[in-house]
Symmetry: C2
Subunit: 118 residues, 2 copies
């Protein structure tokens, strides 16, 4: 069963090696052998991780026959960030206070509206 | 092999039902049966998902013997957000421009410093 796009991204990120590859690609594009070197991994093992990242839309690979540079997909994590957005209030107290403040303003505004009508 | 905390969170989120359970708990605590109802799932199936979410530190469960309410763990997604932070510049052009502007300011500042020394 194919994963939905957001699940595929979360699944791809659930691995420290794949997150490290992504961190390396955030600095600039790299070849498979350049990516394999710091991890002490075989090329097929790295290729497997790259396939997962590519399938999830987190990286893209060049189409050059010999050297297929990997690069980060700039908008790849955008929907992960959007998903997280609605939960941010739980740990970001500043957001929480802002929300509270806006609610106060809105309720004051409603009361004022009622007074005018009455 | 046990997953590292961040991988465990990503793995837990790589499932639409678990994300839906989390979205429901963001509105307030709920019992297992309350959570099972809208999903047309058996209680054991829901319990299994809850165990994954709890193991990843995304939810907590009350210790009351009969009714064990589930609630969202307010700081559960904080490290996911922190991890995402360093990638935000890729899709948030405003952040990118801000970063660029800060670099310009810093380099102007450095030049000014050198001129004063010279």
């Amino acid at each position: 069963m194919a994963l939905d796009p957001l699940s595929a991204k979360f699944a791809a990120l659930a691995d420290p090696t794949r997150r490290a590859i992504l961190a390396r690609l955030a600095l600039g594009e790299a070849s498979v052998s350049e990516l394999a070197a710091p991890f002490d991994m075989t090329m097929p093992a790295v290729s497997k991780h790259l396939k997962v990242l590519e399938g999830a839309g987190l990286i893209a690979r060049g189409r050059e026959a010999q050297w297929r540079p990997c690069r980060i997909e700039p908008e790849g994590l955008k929907n992960v960030d959007s998903w997280l957005e609605s939960y941010r209030r739980f740990w970001d107290k500043r957001l929480d206070r802002l929300e509270h403040y806006l609610h106060t303003l809105q309720s004051k505004d409603r009361k004022r509206g009622r007074r005018k009508q009455g």
